[in-house]
Symmetry: C2
Subunit: 442 residues, 2 copies
């Protein structure tokens, strides 16, 4: 102890002034608020590893397309219910180019970021069959998605996948799905927060059991093509990222402009629904919404569009332009995003040098790649303790305990680490390690 930048009183006082009742298990937004407020009050900059926010400028292609659409007068027109046709076509082409999966344009539906896509997906998937009222999270996961269920009053089940990789996943999923209560299951690949990625074998298991139990898989691809272990940069060329879409027709792929194209501010996500699911008729939907009951129509019109009347029209043009440019090979978003892997490599080295360890470290024997996030632990500290303690050293993060993980550690986001901050990070980690000597274990 003794090398802290912020005293216990300062941090606790700041949290109290922001009405944050329980700092150690605080949500991302609350940690962010504490960091920003402490920075403003003291002038001492934080190492901000909390929020997963793009660390690269927005795609210029998107910005120019958006300005052009505004100049052409789209701002006074409600967007079409199922989305701009040019965007739907671009999304279909993009999924083919970068996943080698066929989804027709009409099954690609834009929303207000991936957030609204998952929100509407949670609603619709739990309204298909009264017995199936629960969402299964393969954790660790993105806490906001569970918060969405809380608004809707939908139940969830979850398990930490750490102990259930490879064939062990089958038994665990059987246990959950055989209850007959699971409407949909969700995970992200690569994973937020742990940066693990399911292997093709694991996705095969998920797809097989989704079919067996009639469960819809929500595959969150927010960090699409950001696993540094393979080169996914060439459109229409292997290798392709792993996806459950190869193993089942019960899927909704969730794509987002936020990290992929550094376009988080404009709120554009896409549901790419398997054509078979998209065109399927559900009597329960027709009855509830007095509509056609066709999955994609109900999803787009009776749910997504009813909640917000679409997402910004000019941004739909931007997303179409970015996706087409990526497919044409003139916008190298995959290469651009390699910058995050470079930052992760340096940051992980700094943590490891100071006696931290990577918590989720491998995919069935293969070390995880570098990318947007990684997870670290320290000795026997709990994640909540570590998160709160690091705040005193000017490092903000979130506890893995808030992500459904049963492992102790924190999530570190690399995106805001620019070159000049690495010496600061090293210095603070050294101070932390010096203040917290690890007792060697017998």
């Amino acid at each position: 102890m003794g090398r802290e930048l912020f005293s216990k009183e300062t941090v606790a006082g700041c949290a109290a002034s922001l009405n944050i009742p329980n700092l150690s298990n605080a949500a991302i937004a609350d940690v962010l608020n504490v960091a920003v407020t402490l920075e403003a009050r003291t002038g001492i900059p934080f190492i901000r590893m909390d929020q997963g926010i793009p660390g690269l400028p927005a795609s210029r292609i998107g910005v120019e397309a958006e300005k052009k659409a505004l100049d052409e007068g789209v701002a006074n027109k409600y967007p079409p219910q199922a989305g701009l046709p040019a965007l739907k076509s671009a999304a279909s082409r993009f999924v083919k180019a970068f996943l080698d999966v066929d989804v027709s344009p009409q099954s690609c539906i834009p929303g207000v970021g991936s957030a609204s896509i998952s929100f509407a997906a949670f609603a619709i998937t739990t309204q298909l069959d009264p017995r199936k009222d629960t969402v299964l999270f393969i954790d660790p996961g993105f806490p906001v998605q569970k918060a969405q269920l809380n608004i809707l009053g939908i139940k969830h089940l979850s398990f930490d996948v750490y102990a259930y990789r490879g064939e062990a996943l089958r038994e665990k999923l059987e246990e959950c799905l055989s209850t007959g209560r699971i409407a949909s299951l969700i995970y992200s690949n690569p994973d937020n927060p742990a940066w693990i990625s399911f292997t093709e074998d694991e996705l095969h298991i998920i797809g097989e059991l989704a079919d067996k139990y009639g469960v819809i898989v929500l595959e969150d691809l927010a960090y699409f093509c950001m696993d540094s272990r393979s080169d996914f940069s060439q459109p229409f060329k292997a290798p392709y990222p792993p996806t459950v879409a190869r193993y089942t027709d019960n899927y909704i792929l969730m794509l987002s402009a936020s990290k992929m194209f550094s376009y988080a501010g404009q709120r554009l996500g896409l549901a790419c629904i398997s054509d078979r699911l998209a065109s399927r008729h559900f009597p329960a939907l027709a009855a509830r919404y007095a509509d056609s009951g066709i999955f994609a129509q109900t999803y787009a019109s009776s749910i997504l569009y009813t909640i917000s009347a679409g997402t910004a029209f000019s941004t739909q043009y931007a997303m179409a332009a970015m996706m087409e440019a990526a497919c044409d090979g003139v916008y190298g978003f995959v290469s651009d995003n390699r910058e995050y892997a470079r930052r992760a490599e340096l940051m992980k080295a700094a943590f490891l040098k100071n006696c931290f360890h990577i918590v989720y470290d491998e995919d069935c024997g293969r070390p995880i790649g570098d990318g947007f996030f990684f997870s670290v632990g320290y000795g026997k500290m709990t994640g909540a303790e570590l998160m709160e303690e690091l705040l005193h050293y000017g490092i903000s993060s979130i506890s893995l305990s808030t992500t459904g993980s049963e492992r102790e550690g924190i999530r570190a986001c690399v995106s805001k680490m620019t070159g000049d901050m690495f010496p600061l990070l090293e210095e603070r980690l050294e101070a932390f390690a010096a203040d917290h000597p690890q007792v060697s274990q017998a």
Copy 2:
């Protein structure tokens, strides 16, 4: 009969091909689809009175501010949870300038159009007290809002206000609110679809009873300052539009860029919450969301932001610029929107000349003004019959029966009527009237 532009078979076949199960009670989007599809198939243009879409170009001030924000690089940043500070200040100033109501910036929260504002408001107001689980609609109203409740599984009560104007409103509201089940009540002023407006006396009654029964009033101001009977065009000068905010602290005012600034495409609405309600602590919210339980914080962060992570960042700059310009008196949105009143006057004359009648025709003895909508009926036809029959004459509208009205008629939206279409409207109405002679009543 005999003068139709589209045969029964053509219209019915079109509806069937669009999976519309029940055309006569079709939702706005379905009627719109039928009209657009028939136009495309036959080349015959429709008189489109269906969707309430801006008929004026988007505010140039908004477009320029949005492009500037994009150039300055906002697209890669998540918007702040409670909204852009400059927008919050502008909204506060705007409410003062055009309503003479004081709401502080922190109580003004942007969302993805008024749609998301009402969606989140329905959620939060029914989560404050387990006994209060129902929303009351003072109808006729906007059908999409009831569709939103359907997604959330929230109950509603409603009544057609036609027979309960003036003091009669008190007794009817007492009857509804004294059940103890009403969490919030909603109406629009001026009203979509009927263009009636509550008087100050009626709003006084609503405010008084909201306080008596602890009910939150959701005042939808989508057609703000569009009642042609008064000149609301001068900022910070009387007269001001009537508002319940003068009579209770239990309110959320819903403002929207869509019609007011002809900015529907970019999806920007605002909740302006009374400061007293905004800062009130609700234990049920704190328990459900594990947050502060302070109304405006839970509304903004745990609900609205959780659903979509904000609304397009550049559009928040646009809205701030438009509101400030309106307050400065350099953007005359009220005068611009007078164009709708001119169109309404001409259209109403054409309908009346052909034996139609205005259904909702007065506010407590005072004839309603001209504006974005009006309601018309024809002889003893039901609204559903009239809507469907007019489709055959190339005129699309929605039946009042879909808006919670107990009167027979249709809603006519004036916004798409440009000068060249008036002769067409007259011609078609004449054909309709000739085909449907009214039996004079004894």
